[in-house]
């Protein structure tokens, strides 16, 4: 397949665009999907190509319009709904958890609900407590939902297409800090498998597991760990529900050590599930640990927010602790791996 570099938001855009081109029933809906910013570029050109009848701006009525998406899906429409912040979806938990997740089950298979709900999470720029949460474990807990959370442009496109083609309600997480990151993406209409994680790099000493943006940080952490002769195996979860237990178990069985890096809060979070899977399935002593967003609401000021989130250096330091290595001045030495309050030079405030 012919590939070229796209950034994450271009990859999502291309996935949606191709799916809309192939299937007239696919529509896009959400606040601002047709506005000049086009949801961080992810809905670029769609209204121009597919018109007002397939790209819908909406009233600020999140709870109802999640219901509209469910209802439309019962009428042979495939809605892709997007919230610019995961927090807005908290207004819609009844529709997502009580209705969409259970619809197919509660009518015992008569009608399914094929919708994709895109939830944008993460830091942005000084967004503060109500605009920078992650919250993916709230959705991953619910049977009936599938929860997808890619880290690379390739997977963003491939999983977006897979989500649109899926027959179930899909929660699709996008970290704001990924939108401006580049990677190879095939031009074709292709899908990645929902429910399969990916081994980003093989290693022998410890298994590092993450999803979404934190995958970028563990890849950087690996570079740091090289200086200490530690060779981690890196797993990008890609899907949170169903979670790919096999790959995790196999890897930790080999390395004997595990650090699960959580894109959200640790307590009752994604990383808890990972440790439990390992614990239930591997019958030997595994040194394991979690790291994630600090257990507080997330402050706006960068002087505090920078300490809220894990980064390559805090991750590497955590790994080193598991090897009983306690080096000094990690932050000075590896400052180039500490992102500050923007992920890269392409990223500008205020969003």
């Amino acid at each position: 397949m012919h590939k070229r570099k796209l950034n994450f938001s271009e990859a999502i855009n291309e996935g949606i665009d191709q799916a809309m081109g192939k299937d007239k029933s696919v529509i896009v809906m959400g606040l601002g999907v047709d506005d000049p910013k086009r949801i961080f570029g992810t809905t670029r050109n769609l209204i121009e190509k597919y018109g007002k009848n397939r790209v819908f701006d909406l009233p600020t009525s999140e709870n109802a319009f999640t219901g509209f998406a469910i209802g439309a899906s019962l009428g042979n429409i495939k809605p892709i709904l997007v919230h610019q912040r995961v927090e807005f979806a908290l207004l819609t938990m009844d529709q997502i958890i009580n209705q969409a997740a259970k619809w197919f089950y509660m009518n015992d298979g008569l009608m399914n609900v094929p919708i994709v709900i895109r939830l944008i999470v993460g830091r942005g720029w000084g967004q503060g407590p109500q605009h920078s949460q992650n919250l993916s474990s709230l959705f991953a807990h619910i049977p009936g939902l599938k929860v997808v959370s890619p880290s690379s442009p390739n997977d963003a496109k491939g999983l977006m297409i897979a989500s649109i083609l899926d027959k179930n309600p899909i929660i699709f997480f996008e970290n704001r800090w990924l939108h401006t990151t580049y990677g190879d993406v095939p031009k074709d209409f292709f899908r990645e498998t929902i429910g399969k994680s990916k081994i980003i790099s093989r290693g022998t000493d410890i298994t590092l597991v993450a999803d979404s943006y934190m995958t970028i940080e563990i890849i950087n952490a690996k570079k740091i760990l090289k200086d200490f002769n530690i060779n981690p195996e890196i797993i990008d979860l890609r899907t949170l529900r169903p979670i790919d237990e096999k790959t995790i178990i196999k890897s930790v069985n080999k390395t004997g050590k595990l650090l699960a890096v959580d894109s959200g809060w640790v307590k009752f979070g994604i990383s808890a599930e990972i440790l439990s899977i390992v614990n239930e399935n591997i019958n030997k002593n595994i040194i394991s640990k979690r790291i994630g967003i600090k257990d507080t609401p997330i402050p706006s000021t960068r002087s505090l927010a920078n300490h809220s989130y894990p980064n390559a250096v805090t991750i590497a330091s955590e790994v080193l602790k598991l090897f009983d290595i306690k080096p000094k001045n990690m932050f000075n030495k590896y400052s180039k791996f500490v992102p500050g309050d923007i992920p890269n030079e392409n990223f500008r405030g205020p969003f």
Binding site: A64, G75, G109, G144
Partner: protein, 323 residues
């Protein structure tokens, strides 16, 4: 508009049948074979019967927790409904839903759910899909006046108004939400019809206990929706005779004044219509008895069948989680 005798008889039969179904459920409920909550609609027959008479098979209906009449009047399968209450595999939702999750796709009863207000936007979404797909089918969304206190109701009618969707919103105003009267729930000067109009969608309030009124007026309204492609909200005053949830009369609890109860019992849609038809000699006791027998037979069969049908096998717990 004068309603034909044939139709009058059918409307009467429908109401009698509805009433008999709920009465039978109430009688049988104490045997504890139907082990799920039931919200019976005794007293509210005229609404579902009057409206459904104007609906076509392809029109779609959404309902909430008190859905038996909406289901049956739209042509829902009685056996499947009773079996569902019994929790049997032959139930309309394979036993997984119970009384609060009726469904009959053939009849166009698309969904009923017990979260107050929750089906309203879903019904709107289906009507929206119809518009996108150039389908003219009507969507009817039934809800209690309690639902109109949920924010999602306003969000939903706003959208229906913006996009001119083919929807009949039906508010059955029976004055109560569980044990709560309107006092703690709605300002005295509140007026649903004028709220609706101020949000840009036309609306009407009617006596929901008069089957002729409901039938005739909803006929006009439905025709109007189908020709103008604009939604309409219909508020119908009515009253439930039994307790909110369960098989009994709970008047001894005194949350509703005896005077009020008496007033509404006098306005019983079935009794009054029966009296009217008897007075006008459109029916006689013989016909009524014939009807009763027919309905009883149907019910005996439905209950016997439900009773003898199988429970779903335990593996069914794991089926249809994902499509």
């Amino acid at each position: 508009m004068k309603v034909k005798k044939k139709i009058l008889l059918e409307l009467y039969f429908d109401m009698l049948r509805m009433r008999s179904v709920e009465t039978r459920i109430a009688q049988e409920y104490s045997k504890q074979e139907m082990r799920c909550p039931v919200h019976l609609s005794v007293g509210q027959e005229a609404i579902a019967c009057g409206i459904s008479k104007n609906l076509q098979k392809k029109d779609k209906v959404f309902s909430a927790h008190r859905s038996h009449y909406h289901y049956l009047a739209k042509g829902g399968n009685l056996n499947s409904m009773i079996a569902e209450l019994f929790g049997k595999e032959s139930g309309c939702a394979g036993g997984k839903g119970g009384s609060m999750h009726l469904i009959d796709l053939k009849a166009g009863l698309f969904a009923a759910v017990p979260i107050v207000g929750s089906t309203i936007p879903i019904g709107v979404g289906l009507a929206w899909a119809n518009k996108i797909n150039n389908k003219k089918d009507l969507v009817v969304i039934y809800f209690g006046e309690g639902s109109t206190e949920e924010g999602v109701f306003y969000e939903s009618i706003n959208f229906a108004g913006i996009h001119d969707l083919n929807i009949l919103f039906v508010c059955e105003n029976n004055l109560y939400s569980v044990y709560s009267g309107l006092g703690n729930r709605q300002a005295k000067k509140r007026n649903l019809v004028s709220i609706s109009k101020s949000m840009g969608i036309s609306a009407t309030k009617l006596n929901g206990n008069n089957i002729e009124t409901v039938f005739i007026e909803s006929n006009k309204i439905i025709n109007n929706i189908k020709t103008t492609n604009k939604p309409h909200l219909l508020e119908l005053s009515t009253y439930r005779h039994l307790e909110h949830c369960g098989p009994f009369n709970d008047d001894k609890l005194n949350y509703r004044e005896q005077k009020e109860i008496n007033y509404w019992l006098k306005k019983c849609p079935l009794k009054n219509f029966e009296k009217l038809l008897l007075n006008k000699k459109i029916i006689n006791d013989q016909t009524i008895n014939k009807y009763i027998k027919k309905i009883d037979n149907e019910l005996n069969q439905a209950f016997n069948k439900a009773r003898s049908d199988k429970f779903p096998n335990k593996n069914k717990l794991f089926t249809n989680v994902y499509a």
